[in-house]
Amino acid sequence: MASDTTLTPVTIPAAPIEARNAPISVVGPVAWARANLFSGPVSTAVTLALGYLIIRWAIGFIDWAFINAVWSVPNNQTQACRDARGVGACWAVVTEKHRFILFGTYPYEEHWRPALACVVFVGLYIVSAMRRFWRKELALIWIAALTTIGVLMWGGVLGMPYVAQERWGGLPITLILSTFGLAFAFPLAIMVALGRRSRMPAIKAICVLYVELIRGVPLISLLFMASVMFPLFLPEGMNIDKLLRAQIAIILFAGAYLAEVVRAGLQALPKGQYEAADALGLSYWNKTGFIILPQALRMVIPPLVNTFIGFFKDTSLVLIIGIFDLLTAGKTAIVEPAWQGFGVEVYITIGLIYFAFCFAMSKYSQSLETELNQHRRR
């Protein structure tokens, strides 16, 4: 309409023609299916084959998991379950053993304490996930929450009887190993990442050696080291609880991987930021604390969450050194003769718990990534 010729008046028709709907072959579910499921002979064949398999499998699964399943049996009489073998699931094993799977050998009447500790852990995750809490108070919240968890689990105060570490088990152990692992590995990782970029050759060499050594070996070997070698390192008469030894191994392991994540953030920061800070005459610690880390850490939060998901899953390896985490507790639950052979049901239950945690975290990390990258997108 950029023309400046005089506009001639147009007469508008009295009855406007109704806008017609687009043909059904272009919009609507049929069209969608045609475009996305049946766009060609190959696509159609694949869709039909997959659809058939999925429906068949789903029916079989529902039959097994719900319709023919045994949900509970009277005191350890597993005959009903054994009869249903192959046709139906025996969820009775989970009904009977769920408290053991979740809390291990923790005193039965005190189970509310580990349960509350798990709630505190989840609350801590949720609070840490909210951006409005990304302030210095968050560190205090973490310290407070972890202290609360320690008090709840150990007890010995406020009328709660003392519970020694070897009685802890199940889900709290998984959460403790991964969360405390992160909490202690994080400062370590920052120091190592800074050290690896340091101009002091000796410090740089030590950090490189640490990171590459740990990343080159499997976690299992570190856990073995913690369980059979570590006691030899200490002077006679002094010893460290095996849970703590495993925790130290996980911290050392997590530290090396997190250090690489943090280093990626430090490297991604434009050089100008370093130079500007130097130009202002800031000391090394002021430069690092006020200029570099706040920006670098913010960039690496999504990969940090992904690394955390990795540790969360990896804590299951303590099975191999006999610590009662969620997976070990589940496996021990089916040692009792009456319940032997119902592994699949227990594995599925444990799998669901792990999945719930990991899926929530991975979805969060994905949404965070889009959110943090918004300014880059126009």
Binding site: N36, S43, V46, G216, F224, M229, F233, P235, D314, S362
Partner: protein, 400 residues
Amino acid sequence: MSDATVDPRFKRTAPRRPMKLSWSDERVRAIFWQVLVVGIIVAIIWWLVSNTQRNLEVRRIATGFGFLQREAGLPIAEHLIDYSPTDNYLRALIVGVLNTLKVAIVGIFLATIFGTLIGIARLSRNWLVAKIAGIYVEVIRDLPLLLQLLFWYTILQGLPGPRQAMNPIDGVFLSNRGLLLPWIQWEGAHTAALLAAVIGGVLTWMYSRLMRARQMADGQPRRVWPLGLLLVLGLPVATWALLGAPFKPDVPSLQGFNFRGGMLMSPEYFALLVGLVTYTSGFIAEIVRAGIQSVQHGQWEAAQALGLKPGVVLKQIVLPQALRVIVPPMTSQYLNITKNSSLAVAIGYQDIVSIANTTLNQTGQAIEGIAIIMAVYLSISLSISLFMNWYNSKIALVER
């Protein structure tokens, strides 16, 4: 900026200040901190070592690697080299390393193929295919590998026994003893043929490089594959025929408790392989998807506008760019497969960790046992890293 553009007046270096013994001198501080940190670490290590020495003495635990020459007495089910329980620990450990390599190499190969397929499936225009691939990736990545391994192993154990073995094709048996395939009785001629194939491959590679250099010189494309085919296939066949063409099929058959003959893939190996491949392919799929998506659409369109064939577009335009994004994270996935193969210990596949573990249990020499495990994994990791770094530098963007 190269040196040529710098004004010669600015090409002076800063004057070297003499080092002052003062806290304000950065170099003094640097030396102080390094001495301090190194000192602390050395002190800790010294403390640990001296404690260990005292403990070993008090507990009368033997030290040194002398036990490697002693008779192991441990039975190993799968061995690539000859082994019996009367052999020494060293040989048992070598068998373990080979078993680790066997699962890691095959795992890396399969996970790459499978992961790439899933990654491409996630970008499929068929909604159902893309959705299933997406769910697969999400579920697989959110469950601990150990749980998955235990699950697979439980499933494989549910297969019928050897007497009711599934027999889809003549000579192929699938039972809870594993997968049995017909094989040939291995003789020297076969080894020679295999060697000839490797030599043929190397010659083909050299030939193709030569032809490529010629093409660079005169622009004339040359066919490589006829001679290549001859070298890779003809050479081994000729070698085999020259050595008398031995061929005795080794078909498995049920005798007593078990199958005799044939090539066996045990359920432990199979479960570990399936677990590692499905788990890692979930991660590789994401890497591949990100790599393909990183190549801008304009690249495809521009290549098509030039009239290149789709295959050529993929090979010459898209893949080289995608690989640049794919290779570095792929390296860490390959390292992960190798390290995760150590979970074999949970399902009874006798890899290096399992055998070293039994060794340290029988000899009581924990430090040596764990040192062996770590040394083995460090050298494998280092080899993979070096190879992948070399490959990465080869395909990296050459910047001006």
